[in-house]
């Protein structure tokens, strides 16, 4: 099973990705999806600008995906991360995991997101609703804690 990693400016379709992963197969018993959306932060945010490190973004998410494949009996794994200007309500990130039974798919999707947040080279900057350019979003300690729990 080789993970599918895509870094793209364009939006994605959850249903299309699930179909591409599972249609025509009878070995998959569970597909778990996580979709990360842009919040409007109580109306104060006009958009998020996502900067990324081309080349390393694909490589690093690929390494996290390989770790997930080594740890759980997955039948499919998809990770899509967007960059550029993303407005509230729009999709930022997608993780899909497929397995014969649900536990592996749930855990692998959770693992992927925890590591993607702390290791994938992406940086968010706020564009405020009042037209001003906000600051770079600061990393949260709780995200490091969430990633850390997988090594306990």
């Amino acid at each position: 099973m080789s993970p599918l990693i895509r870094i793209q400016r364009e939006d994605f379709s959850l249903q299309d990705e699930i179909d591409a992963l599972s249609v025509g197969r009878s070995d998959i018993g569970a597909v778990v999806s996580f979709t990360g959306l842009c919040r409007d932060e109580a109306g104060t945010l006009a958009a998020l600008e996502l900067e990324h490190y081309p080349g390393m973004a694909e490589a690093e998410i690929g390494r996290v995906a390989e770790a997930a494949v080594a740890r759980w009996p997955l039948l499919g794994l998809v990770a899509i991360h967007r960059y550029g200007l993303i407005r509230p309500g729009e999709q930022i990130v997608l993780v899909l995991t497929a397995s014969a039974h649900r536990r592996a798919a749930f855990e692998a999707a959770d693992f992927m997101m925890d590591y993607l947040k702390t290791r994938a080279p992406f940086w968010k900057r706020e564009h405020r609703a009042d037209g001003t350019l906000g600051g770079w979003v600061e990393a949260k300690g709780e995200d490091d804690d969430a990633a850390e729990r997988w090594s306990r």
Binding site: G36, H81, I92, L116, K117, T118, F122, W123, D143
Partner: protein, 97 residues
């Protein structure tokens, strides 16, 4: 007798440095190609050498522990050996996902 490799304490090698987010803004450029001394052993050695080059680097690396590094697209630690890395990146803690 075999000649010694052309690596001396005063030698240099060419690397590409790339910067992202507020590190990029403070350095003032997205990337640059520099000849760095071959006696810089670790990521921290390179950071200190850059800080001696100008105020923009001092601003970018004011809190050294906050800036992350990658060697040829792989995360590195402050004490990681530079080895023969050709592309060295500096950036803030990541906020993707």
């Amino acid at each position: 007798m075999t000649a010694a490799p052309a690596m001396t304490a005063t030698g240099t090698r060419t690397v590409k440095l790339v910067y992202f987010a507020w590190v990029r803004e403070r350095v003032g450029i997205p990337d640059e190609t520099l000849d760095i001394p071959t006696d810089l052993a670790t990521v921290t050695d390179l950071v200190r050498w850059l800080k001696a080059r100008g105020e923009n680097y001092q601003a970018a690396f004011a809190r050294e522990a906050l800036v992350r590094a990658a060697l040829d697209h792989v995360h590195a630690k402050p004490g990681s050996p530079l080895g023969d890395a050709r592309e060295i990146a500096f950036f803030p803690p990541m906020t993707g996902g």
